[in-house]
């Protein structure tokens, strides 16, 4: 992959990130919103690794470890929350979760 400049990777990363953000905004199913967030996290990971490769640093790769861990913890807790919300409200539609306000 030596011939491809890093700019391409960055643009691909931001494209993925935008798609993820779009998913968060236009979907109503919380689980799919969640998956879109995972996609955004992965876009960031992707850019981490690309930069690490470009800047000759190992820290970018190490950071991916931590992002993965955070993603795992987030998925575990987030999905647990979704399950317990579903128990009470029988829905996973984000626009029906609006109790979190005045």
């Amino acid at each position: 992959m030596t011939a491809v400049p890093i700019g391409w990777f960055l643009i691909l990363g931001s494209l993925l990130f935008s798609i993820g953000a779009l998913g968060v905004l236009i979907r109503r199913n919380v689980i799919i919103i969640f998956m879109s967030i995972e996609l955004m996290l992965n876009a960031v990971n992707f850019v981490f690794v690309a930069f690490a490769r470009q800047l000759h640093s190992l820290d970018g790769q190490v950071m991916v470890f931590f992002v993965m861990t955070v993603a795992a913890a987030e998925a575990a807790v987030g999905l647990a929350i979704i399950i317990s919300v579903f128990r009470n409200r029988e829905t996973v539609n984000a626009d029906e979760f609006n109790l979190l306000r005045w």
């Binding site: 890093i6 905004l25 236009i26 996609l39 640093s57 190490v62 470890f65 795992a72 999905l79 399950i83």
Partner: protein
């Protein structure tokens, strides 16, 4: 060939990512995400980050997405007729996301790194598990130990939240 491979894989990746966002059925969405993650792993491999590539598949595809699938099946989520947001919000979201993308492309262009001649040879030790491990377990020791606490909290909260009997 390199550029060709990049474009091919990037296209597949973007298609899979769009699949996540646009698929009607949650399970297809999840599978699209698995495919996208798999292609990301291939990208990591081509960026000489073998360890990350393997971990990407093990952690994301092999563990996190399984959990997503389980939840989808557990809650028996089928296609939902009113799945997408209202048209107005959709339009707004699309505009904002495009603006965001354009802004990042603008910055990437302006910074000049996109004009560089590719990435060159593998940095010394970049693909060596031992060196990454050394970094991880010496310089990032504290973050590593904190990770365990994060996971502990995740376990406990997941158990507390999910332990009640499912109706």
């Amino acid at each position: 060939m390199n550029t060709g491979v990049f474009v091919l894989l990037a296209t597949l990746l973007v298609v899979a990512a769009l699949g996540v966002v646009l698929a009607r059925s949650p399970i297809r969405s999840a599978l699209s995400l698995v495919v996208a993650l798999f292609f990301l792993a291939v990208f990591f491999l081509l960026l000489d980050a073998q360890l990350i590539a393997a971990l990407q598949v093990i952690v994301y595809a092999g563990a996190i997405m399984v959990l997503f699938l389980f939840v989808i099946m557990l809650l028996n989520l089928q296609e939902h007729p009113a799945e997408m947001a209202r048209a107005g919000l959709r339009f707004l979201a699309g505009t904002l996301a495009s603006l965001f993308l354009l802004a990042t492309i603008y910055f990437t262009n302006r910074s000049g790194i996109s004009n560089a001649q590719g990435m060159g040879a593998i940095p010394d030790g970049f693909d060596s598990t031992a060196q990454i491990a050394e970094r991880l377990f010496t310089q990032h020791l504290f973050a590593f130990e904190l990770t365990s606490l994060l996971l502990l909290v995740a376990i406990i909260s997941a158990v507390v939240l999910a332990k009640k009997k499912l109706a």
